[in-house]
């Protein structure tokens, strides 16, 4: 069987981009006509978003650069973006949600409607044109980061929004791998996202399986490469110090740093002995508030163990939160010798398609969990449907080597006050807890974290004194 050829699965999840934002150019530029991306003209009626009497359409960004704001993508805003109509989601409220969230008058070329051309995302576009892409991969939930990442790595989510909270890790992939003797490692380019699950802290700190990203290439060339590798970018919302820069592609970041990380990861894998029997899954946690033209299909979320938000959104304004669909499409690529070259797979996937694949490969005949099986029963396919029984890439093609052009800027975050964003608060809370509970292990895993803690303590003390004196 094709799946038996896969000995190492690499999971690489970025943040907050829609399919059309990153891969919509494939069809528009004629690079992959079979992909359900954008079509010319991009100002046609079916792509129209409406706001306050105005019409808004997709547009290609002139350059890859930092945006003015993060885009709204909490469950109440997603409900507005989907703009449910009599026939289901209409994908017509992205600009409206942006205006509500930012309090600004939208420009004609409004950020949620933007997409990249192939030259602006050269590594993503190269991989998409070379290997297999999935153009019916939806985020599992029509909401934000924490719930979607939880479904990705637990198969279900007991939370429905993103905030400072201890996220339940019921049924997490690490416990599952431990129980089934599956060797795994997590390579993190910054603070690991999994520290937001307090139940995972002991595993993170003591298992020896969380390693700096810089060791990935050497480990892939080592004697015992793991069976499952999770690669984590440096999250924008996490604390940063010194030369570290975020590269998770989370708006308002430019995506150039993420393109660079993707290239380095692909190069590390494709030039290692692991390549011949590997599958790298590159996907995004959710759409991040960017427009996508494909309505997500109906889905019974409550029936698969997920927490359901209230129908009435906070403040009583906006569209009702129906929460009866999958989330918007996200970019997803399968990179392996064991996928068809230059191919688009139209099967319906979500993040639990990965969990289905892992179970088929490492625990044949035994599903990952009951809730993942219930999602499968509602039409979510396993990634194994995209694998081939013959190898197509004895030698992996080299990625473009040109410098990646983008307008680089770090997001200006003020550490003198706690972060504004829910994810920023969550990361900061988790980092502080990590330092408080096991400072020795934290120091070993993240040597710069204690410096960051000292810095925020000092900055906030000064800010407090300043406020009092005023």
């Amino acid at each position: 069987m094709a799946i038996e050829n896969i000995k190492t699965v690499v999971l690489f999840m970025f943040e907050n981009r829609s399919f059309d934002n990153m891969l919509g150019h494939l069809s528009l530029e004629g690079l992959q006509p079979d992909a359900d991306g954008l079509q010319s003209p991009v100002n046609q009626d079916k792509y129209t978003n409406f706001y306050a009497g105005g019409l808004f359409h997709p547009f290609q960004r002139a350059v890859d650069e930092q945006l003015s704001f993060d885009l709204p993508h909490e469950y109440n805003y997603v409900a507005t973006q989907l703009k449910a109509g009599p026939g289901g989601p209409r994908m017509a409220g992205f600009v409206e949600a942006y205006a509500q969230s930012t309090g600004t008058d939208p420009n004609l070329l409004c950020d949620p409607m933007c997409f990249f051309g192939s030259k602006q995302v050269p590594i993503t576009s190269f991989l998409a044109q070379t290997f297999t892409i999935c153009d019916r991969w939806f985020s599992p939930l029509p909401t934000s980061t924490q719930p979607n990442r939880t479904v990705a790595f637990c198969g279900q989510s007991e939370i429905y929004d993103t905030k400072l909270q201890d996220i339940p890790n019921t049924g997490d992939i690490f416990g599952w791998m431990q129980a089934n003797n599956i060797d795994y490692r997590v390579y993190h380019d910054g603070l690991t996202f999994f520290m937001l699950y307090l139940g995972l802290l002991p595993t993170i700190l003591t298992s020896g399986r969380w390693r700096p990203y810089e060791t990935l290439a050497a480990d892939l060339n080592g004697p015992n490469p793991p069976q499952v590798i999770i690669v984590e970018p440096s999250f924008q919302d996490a604390p940063h110090i010194g030369p570290d820069h975020p590269n998770d592609n989370h708006p308002p970041l430019a995506v150039g740093w993420g393109e660079d990380l993707l290239r380095r990861t692909y190069q590390a894998l494709s030039t290692s002995p692991v390549w011949d029997n590997s599958l790298m899954v590159v996907y995004y946690d959710e759409h991040g508030g960017f427009y996508d033209h494909v309505p997500p299909p109906a889905f019974d979320q409550g029936g698969t163990g997920n927490a359901i938000p209230p129908v009435t959104p906070p403040g009583g304004s906006g569209d009702p939160v129906l929460y009866n669909t999958l989330g918007p499409r996200v970019p997803a690529m399968l990179i392996s010798p064991w996928v068809a070259p230059r191919t688009v797979v139209h099967d319906q996937y979500d993040h639990t398609s990965v969990l289905q694949l892992l179970a088929e490969r490492f625990t044949p005949g035994k599903p990952f969990s009951a809730n993942v099986a219930k999602r499968a029963a509602q039409g979510i396919k396993s990634l194994s449907t995209a694998l081939t029984s013959t190898s197509s890439f004895l030698t992996a093609p080299a990625p473009p080597s040109d410098p990646i052009a983008f307008s680089y800027a770090r997001v200006g975050e003020n550490i003198a006050t706690p972060p504004d964003s829910a994810m920023g608060q969550a990361f900061e809370g988790a980092a502080l807890k990590l330092l408080a509970e096991n400072p020795a292990a934290a120091e070993k895993l993240y040597p710069s974290l204690s410096l960051w803690k000292t810095a925020i303590d000092q900055a906030r003390a000064q800010a407090s004194v300043s406020n009092v004196s005023q």
């Binding site: 009497g53 004609l108 800027a409 810095a455």
Partner: protein
Amino acid sequence: MKIGYIVVLALVACHPRIYRFEVSAKALGLHDPYSVKWRTKGSTYLTIYDTSMPYTAAPAVPPVMLLVSRDGRSDTLSLRRADTLWLPEQGSLSIRNLPDGDSTPRFRYMRFVAHKCNKDSTREAQIAFFPGEAFGAVGFIANPRGDSLVAEGNNDDARRWGGLFRILAVANDTSGDGAGEAPRDLVVTHAGITTVLHPGGAPSFVFSGTPIGGWWSIRGAMTEAEKKDVRKVPNGLHVRIIVKHI
């Protein structure tokens, strides 16, 4: 150690801020002035560049001469590609395109950046410059009501058109070419006037002189295909508008 700590503290705590960035218009006549007001923390600059109107196949726009006024002093700036104005942390500008005989519509990007300690905070504003007349659209999400589709709401023209343009004509551009809304007669009500616009028909001048803003109602009969399958109902209904600079 203490020095290192102080350096780290300085690097991490240092950041830019944009407290205010306001541009007074989103659509103007070619030579109308507009204002930019701001307040920031950090090195501040405004990058300006012009392109042809989005979604058109118009060629690149020619350079234009800007008259930039600040604190009672005016300078001219030849805007060729992307020009950057370095600014203090607080202030206001008045900007106007100087007449040069060119009447090409143009679309202006203004990227406003506060920079400090290798960090940026940004905002972007866009302005469309039109000669005497301009094309646009008014539209709303459509919902079935009986056998009709109804799209209506308040058109907040101040957001896009300011007070400098008025309706000259309206048209129904549903064409049935497969890419757009199905062709249908549209019953349009605005400014106390109701008219019927036929698909692909000539522009109607019945709303000439009315404001762009205010309540609009656009109604049309559902097609047989839409009645059988509501998934075929279009997201919205719209009318094309031709506006005239006043």
